[in-house]
């Protein structure tokens, strides 16, 4: 059916994009056209055979910087989302089990947590430990965890209210077993979709942090940092201000397509449209 084709097409395109970026990221660990400290390229030299994307004001090769940016994007996305899922998921499942007053209090608490601006968190973390990749990852990870906490709480509650859970409890199954046997298997498709979406959001959040000067210093410059650096030279070297942004867009679109494809594949309700 058309839906299957569409789902497969989305999965396909999304995987290709993500795969390409992952490949470049991994490649950058062992090889880039030039070292990050190689400043031999001449100031803002344009596109050439030696430098496919030109050089920056210090003479560093832009292509190498872009490749490293891919690695940083993957690192930030992966680690921040990991923190989010583990921390937020655990909190959320626990909150899902809460009843009445405790439940109300926790849901208020979670709402405040979600509304606490990630930016503010990032600034406080940077004030405490300085601007670095780790500070950014921590801040974004904490911000994402509140999203996952809220999500898993709702999902957990939804599952717990089902009849077969109540039956299971009556027959003596312990809570941890219920979590492992019933909750986790049922929530992982939705979680996976959210993971993919938050991966892209983490990348965008890091770009905003870099724009405000809170991003990682060299050699861990992200695409967002490159965009921020390129602002001054946008008239003499417009490519440097366009390419990192386009790459960021491609990453997020790719990840979102993947998320869509996964959701269509695994959600039984949607089989039959789109």
């Amino acid at each position: 059916m058309s839906s299957k084709l569409t789902s497969n097409r989305r999965l396909f395109i999304g995987s290709i994009i993500l795969g390409a970026i992952l490949f470049i990221a991994l490649l950058s660990l062992i090889w880039t056209p030039y070292g990050i400290e190689d400043m031999s390229g001449g100031r803002l030299s344009g596109v050439s055979l030696h430098h496919l994307f030109g050089t920056d004001t210090l003479g560093r090769d832009q292509l190498s910087k872009l490749m490293i940016g891919a690695r940083v994007a993957v690192e930030v996305g992966f680690l921040a989302v990991l923190i989010g899922v583990v921390l937020g998921g655990t909190l959320g499942i626990l909150a899902g089990f809460a009843q009445n007053k405790l439940d109300d209090a926790l849901s208020s608490f979670l709402d405040i947590l979600i509304a606490f601006p990630t930016l503010l968190l990032a600034m406080l973390i940077v004030a405490a430990r300085g601007a670095s990749l780790t500070s950014g990852i921590l801040a974004i990870g904490l911000g994402i965890s509140s999203v996952f906490a809220r999500l898993t709480r709702l999902l957990t509650k939804s599952i717990l209210s089902k009849d077969y859970i109540i039956a299971s409890r009556i027959s003596g199954t312990s809570w941890p077993r219920i979590v492992v046997l019933h909750i986790l298997p049922n929530i992982w498709p939705t979680l996976l979709v959210t993971v993919a979406l938050q991966f892209g959001i983490a990348g965008l959040a890091e770009a905003s942090l870099s724009y405000l000067g809170l991003g990682a210093p060299p050699p861990n410059e992200s695409w967002g940092s490159l965009l921020q650096q390129a602002q001054n030279t946008v008239y003499t070297a417009p490519l440097s201000a366009i390419v990192p942004g386009v790459l960021l867009i491609i990453l997020v679109v790719g990840v979102n397509l993947l998320a869509d494809g996964v959701r269509i594949k695994f959600d039984p309700k949607i089989q039959g449209q789109r």
Binding site: A127, P217, N232, T233, T236
Partner: protein, 500 residues
């Protein structure tokens, strides 16, 4: 008969016409001399923190209020010279310990209160008070007492000679001694009155019609504050501001290359330093400091950040200081020599050190550049990004660092190398002696000679690596004139600015 009468008449008519013409030409001039109404919009990145330069107002308060709202006994001109302002003149006793200042009569604060010597005494004491946060407080250490024999005379008695007293006094704003809140209000004697401050946005000054001197040539000045350089540039491009007090990068200048704008390349007093902690290894070893200085190509870095602007001075002294000399040739770029010196110092395989780097431009780029250059001679640099606060607490107060990058804004700040407790810990008794003595000499010429000698010693010791002097690039619309071109300590006198 008739002709002579008409000739007479004609002559009278002619005289009358001339008289009328003269009067007529005076009328528009008089009308022009009556209040100008132009609004000058100035774009800046440096917003004041508060309105009091003795209570932490910051760089921005000097830019907005110095010379515009507040005046001192003397004023620092754009070319670095000092001239009389509120003081008509002064006399010094032969032993150099008693200064007598005479004030202008008829000067009033914006609130209407007349200026008296009591205000001057109050203002100087405000700077040297125990709770004063003025950067100039320590320079007034020699002041023993201030007396006011009459309303227009101030006598300052010193415990030791101080050749820089007059220059230092140009930084002392004369406050209204009867006012109370100096952080949020400003009542000064200057050509402008402080009108309004919308924090995070604009600060407005209005021409003071009852100013004691030559009035401002424009009607009001509005400072517009931005937090990033691109928005600042955009404001000039869309003519929301008429002038930018200092452009932050040369690449942005290509946007202003049309004839609608004028780019001015002046001198600033801001230096970018690679400051070693001269107390700890490896930088307590002069040979190592020399090696590192020789391993960094400062000219190349200056060009990468500023293109053809700015200059490498090779020392802490900017060109507008009287004791300036170009010492950039003392340690030219020579990586081979650097490697040899490292070997001689006992580091044949180089070493590793942490470089504490502020997060704002151009420090991250400088750190990356230094890291790359030093890698070529075997030295590994670990870049540690620090916030302003961390820098202040760890580097400046606790001296807990090995090397750091920092920009220093003031002029005449060579004297910090005479203080072994300053954050970089440079301790050369000969230099300290020279610097302390230079303050107590009898003539400016001797002071200049002494400080030149001190500077040469400091540079020879490679106490720090002075990477470059920032240019002062003022960009304005081409119909604007009369704005200052050099950024001495960030002051920006606005009273001569006119729009053609």
């Amino acid at each position: 008969m008739k002709m002579s009468i008409s000739k007479n008449l004609r002559r009278k008519a002619f005289a009358a016409a001339i008289a009328f013409g003269v009067v007529a030409s005076l009328v528009p001039a008089a009308a022009q001399a009556a209040a100008p109404t132009t609004v000058i919009n100035v774009g800046s990145l440096y917003e004041p923190q508060n309105l009091d330069n003795t209570a932490g107002g910051g760089q921005g308060v000097t830019e907005a209020l110095n010379g515009n709202v507040y005046e001192g006994l003397f004023k620092l001109n754009d070319d670095g010279s000092v001239s009389n302002l509120l003081a008509t003149g002064y006399t010094v006793s032969p032993d150099g310990l008693t200064y007598t200042f005479k004030l202008h009569s008829g000067v009033k604060f914006a609130s209407g209160k007349p200026l008296t010597s009591a205000d001057v005494k109050f203002s100087i004491e405000k700077v040297i008070a125990p709770d004063s946060l003025s950067a100039r407080k320590s320079s007034f250490g020699p002041i023993a007492s201030i007396t006011t024999p009459d309303d227009l005379t101030v006598v300052v008695t010193l415990s030791a000679r101080s050749i820089s007293l007059i220059y230092n006094l140009s930084y002392v704003w004369i406050f209204n001694s009867t006012a109370t809140d100096f952080k949020a209000h400003a009542d000064g004697t200057g050509p402008y009155t402080f009108t309004n401050w919308v924090k995070g946005s604009t600060l407005t000054l209005t021409r003071n019609p009852s100013y004691w001197g030559t009035g401002a040539k424009n009607g009001s000045v509005v400072f517009h504050y931005f937090t990033d350089a691109t928005s600042l540039n955009n404001a000039l491009l869309t003519k929301e501001v008429d002038v930018i007090t200092s452009v932050q990068s040369p690449d942005a200048l290509s946007q202003f290359s049309s004839s609608a704008y004028k780019i001015n390349n002046g001198n600033s007093t801001t230096k970018l330093l690679l400051a070693f902690n001269d107390r700890v290894a490896p930088f307590n070893n002069k040979l190592v400091r020399q090696a590192v200085t020789s391993a960094i190509d400062r000219k190349k870095f200056l060009q990468s950040v500023w293109g053809n602007y700015g200059q490498v001075t090779g020392s802490m002294v900017p060109p507008k200081d009287p004791w300036y000399e170009d010492l950039s040739g003392v340690y030219p770029y020579n990586p081979t020599l650097a490697k040899a010196e490292l070997k001689q110092a006992g580091y044949p395989n180089g070493f590793t050190f942490r470089l504490d780097t502020p997060t704002y431009d151009p420090h991250p780029a400088a750190a990356a550049f230094i890291k790359a250059q030093l890698a070529l001679v075997g030295i590994t640099v670990n870049i540690n990004s620090v916030t302003d606060d961390q820098w202040y607490n760890n580097v400046y107060k606790a001296h807990n660092f090995v090397a750091t990058l920092q920009e220093h804004v003031n002029d005449r700040d060579l004297v910090w190398y005479g203080n072994p407790n300053f954050y970089w810990g440079y301790n050369n008794p000969a230099v300290t002696k020279l610097i302390n003595a230079s303050e107590q000499v009898k003539s400016q010429r001797t002071q200049t000679l002494d400080l030149k000698k001190a500077n040469e010693l400091i540079v020879a010791d490679a106490a720090s690596d002075w990477i470059y002097l920032y240019p002062q690039i003022v960009v304005a619309t081409s119909n604007l004139s009369g704005y200052p071109l050099n950024g001495l300590n960030s002051q920006f006198y606005a009273y001569n600015i006119v729009k053609a």
